[in-house]
């Protein structure tokens, strides 16, 4: 090899690198595979439990507070939280499903697999899934904001600040999410060009 490497030498260096001799027995693989499935089930259950708790938490206020406007606000907050958790869970499930359906991974060329992954992430940040999530999350704070303006009470300032902050956060989320979606779309376009490029 003297002082220089040809591209064949580089391949040789790569292929002859030290190996850690990683091995997994079939029993070990079966156990880990079952463990992975139960981890996913547990995580999904935890996600559902958190979502359920949030919905219940806000729903309780629907029955506690005397004011009808506030009741509606809490109901919409509960609905928004539930919808957000549902979408997060759906996104996670789709992601895991792609990994678990390993059989399909062998039938799918890498570019299609990668494209599907990017497409899933892009859709989380734009389109109907994003806008419906935003609207559902904004409804509750909007009602509280409107109430704070329309019905001056002792705690008006607090309601105003909290609901306005939530609305501002949601507004700020719009350009951030759309920018992220554009980034994913740019990567998808690159992949399309590679797939449909010169034959």
């Amino acid at each position: 090899m003297a002082d220089e490497f040809s591209s064949e030498d580089v391949r040789d260096v790569w292929q002859k690198q030290d190996s850690e001799s990683f091995r997994m027995s079939l029993d070990e693989i079966r156990k880990k595979s079952e463990l992975l499935d139960s981890c996913i089930r547990r995580r999904n259950l935890i996600g559902l439990a958190i979502g359920f708790f949030e919905v219940v938490w806000f729903s309780v206020f629907v029955f506690i507070v005397p004011n009808l406007g506030h009741r509606i606000g809490y109901f919409l907050l509960a609905l928004g939280c539930g919808y957000l958790v549902y979408q997060l869970l759906l996104n996670k499930l789709q992601k895991r499903a792609a990994v678990i359906r390993a059989g399909e991974m062998g039938n799918k060329v890498s570019i299609e697999f990668y494209r599907a992954e990017l497409g899933r992430q892009r859709d989380f940040h734009r389109g109907s899934r994003f806008w419906s999530r935003l609207v559902m999350l904004a409804l509750g704070p909007l009602v509280f904001f409107g109430l704070a303006i329309a019905h001056p009470q002792n705690d008006r300032f607090l309601w105003l600040v909290v609901s306005a902050s939530l609305l501002l956060l949601l507004l700020r989320a719009v350009p951030l999410n759309l920018r992220r979606a554009r980034k994913y779309q740019a990567q998808i376009n690159e992949l399309d060009a590679l797939q449909c490029g010169p034959q």
Partner: protein
Amino acid sequence: MAVITSNKDGLYQETAHTYGAALERLAHAYERDQDIRRDLLQDIHIALWRSFDGFDGRCSLRTWVYRVPHNVATSHVIRQYRTNSRSFVGLEELENMLDNREARPTSDRYEALGQIQALIERLKPLDRQVMLSYLEGMDAASIGEISGISPGNVATKIHRIKSFLVRHFHEGGRHGR
């Protein structure tokens, strides 16, 4: 069912025996951290074992065996990308970056290996896959079959890889004289 299971087990064992070292190299190229790499390698082996339920011989075993690990590793890279905000570059950008930097002389295999790994780690998933497949000794047709990139684009990428590998290490060697 027993036949299917034993076939699945048999395919996995054959794969682990034949491609075990290549899978390790693949994991090495996708993850530098030793502990995380071990997890990734485990995920790859589990995914491969599970994947043989769906192996119907429509493509060669070799193609299948390289597709599954690359897809698992790509998922891993995307996850890392989201959590670390690491930015990857394409082969073209990498070439330009190397052009603007003086090649470090090396005639040492270990150092060369370190440099190859450092280069691979910066690449976007598909370019990384092409580079790795090339280093594993595959031809353009096999790389196209595994990755789904059109033959013309694979050829262009291989040409680029060859040229910058030669330039990077060749020039490095000259400096080292």
